[in-house]
């Protein structure tokens, strides 16, 4: 039987234009052998979820540095659930205060990475936690 390749959507929700982090993550994922769908800047939660469904990804990884994480990340999660795609995992990275992380996790964001995290750590987390759809 052929093997599944991990597919990840890397996206930037909302209005912040800082995509250095997203590009570094996309590249680290590529080097780890994943297929990365990069959707670019200024995406609405609806666009992100529709793209994730059409691309049949295992994981959505969002980079957010605008401070709007408490609004945008749970919104993405809710739309996933609405559209019957709650099985797609959601992960985030960016300038996110420690105090906000428990709330985000409670809202269904599987993991949150903050500045200074190595790409090895993030790739390792994906390998340990993402099982491609059967």
């Amino acid at each position: 039987m052929a093997e599944r390749r991990i597919r990840v959507l890397v996206g930037k929700p909302g209005l912040d234009g800082h995509d250095r982090g997203a590009k570094i993550i996309a590249r680290a994922f590529r080097d780890a052998g994943f297929e990365v769908i990069y959707t670019g800047l200024h995406q609405t939660p609806e666009q992100i979820v529709s793209a994730a469904i059409q691309e049949d990804v295992d994981l959505v990884a969002l980079s957010i540095l605008s401070g709007a994480h408490n609004t945008l990340l749970p919104a993405v999660r809710e739309i996933m659930t609405e559209k019957g795609a709650a099985d797609i995992m959601l992960m985030a990275g960016g300038v996110i205060p420690e105090d906000d992380i428990p709330g985000l996790k409670a809202a269904g964001i599987a993991e949150v990475f903050t500045p200074g995290t190595s790409t090895e750590t993030i790739v390792g987390w994906v390998r340990d936690n993402i099982t491609p759809h059967a």
Partner: protein
């Protein structure tokens, strides 16, 4: 319900999953494709090819908008290269077209080449067939950024569009073999740049030197500015004209038959190899051959003839 039944029922997730099964070479996908095959053959398929950075994705984005204005359903298959080192890929064509993501009349799928060399991915035809069965009226395939010899798109699309930009080289580049022989429509994109007129004129001259087709389609050179949407209306009119020409001249039927024949041959090639290779690996013959080549008691050519004579495939 099977995935194929769900696809025919309009289930987007099922379609996306089936495309993944196809791409990951799951055996189960073959069964689903069997069910879908009778529902294919209705979509008009456009292939967009050209060098990296020519603006293919941006043009695709504009073409999608133009067809959506006509209320047609549009599928997009966008192909980007797989890293030969890690096997991973960054599929970035969506960046230019993701504004269509939450339009229910558009389905965009990114594919990685996964080692295929012709500018497409092995799964392209099957993924196009899924979109066709989903009821897409128009399917746009964007190849990887190609150089001179990646011409698989011709046998996959009805209309092949070659996108060029000003300043890529002199007119000798244009008379070498390769992608300039395959276009039904030529586009000089980024036409606001210096040299666009000249590039268009040189291309036109090259095309006029070609012996006219027996059945008479003369490719034209159009100019566009993808980012601002300039020239897109004319481009889509040219697609319509080519589509009508294909239907009226009988070329559409011929293309469809060639595409089916190629799909059959590709599938056969793959199945035969898997069956024969799997058999000889399983029964120890493969190890014998490798050992034989090591001590020179057999050469690879005789070994293949021996395997074929043994009919490991029947």
């Amino acid at each position: 319900m099977t995935l194929a039944e769900r696809v025919l029922d309009g289930d987007i997730r099922a379609a996306a999953r089936l495309m993944r099964d196809i791409d990951d070479r799951f055996k189960s996908a073959i069964e689903e494709l069997k069910t879908l095959y009778p529902h294919t053959g209705n979509a008009y398929i456009i292939g967009i090819t050209g060098p990296p950075g020519a603006g293919k994705s941006t043009l695709v984005d504009q073409i999608v908008s133009a067809y959506r204005k006509k209320d047609l359903l549009v599928g997009v298959v966008a192909i980007d290269p797989t890293s030969p080192f890690s096997g991973g890929a960054i599929l970035g064509d969506r960046i230019r077209m993701n504004r269509h993501a939450d339009d229910a009349g558009v389905f965009i799928r990114s594919l990685a080449t996964r080692g295929a060399l012709g500018g497409l991915s092995r799964s392209t035809t099957d993924v196009v067939n899924v979109m066709d069965a989903m009821g897409m009226d128009v399917i746009v395939i964007e190849t990887v950024g190609v150089g001179q010899d990646e011409v698989d798109i011709v046998s996959t699309a009805h209309t092949t569009v070659v996108v060029m930009v000003p300043g890529l080289g002199d007119d000798i580049q244009a008379i070498k073999a390769g992608i300039l022989e395959i276009g039904d429509v030529f586009v000089v994109n980024k036409a606001d740049r210096d040299g666009a007129e000249r590039t268009a004129r040189e291309l036109t001259t090259m095309l006029e030197m070609k012996h006219p087709d027996a059945d008479g389609w003369a490719p034209r050179v159009l100019q566009t500015e993808g980012v601002r949407g300039v020239g897109i209306e004319e481009l889509v009119q040219e697609f319509d004209a080519h589509h009508i020409y294909l239907k009226e001249s009988g070329a559409l039927q011929r293309l469809t038959e060639e595409r089916n024949a190629k799909l059959f041959a590709d599938t056969l090639r793959e199945e035969l190899f898997e069956t024969v290779f799997g058999t000889i690996k399983g029964n120890g013959k493969y190890d014998q051959i490798v050992a034989g080549m090591r001590d020179k008691s057999i050469d690879p050519y005789s070994a293949v003839q021996e395997v074929m004579a043994g009919r490991a495939f029947s």
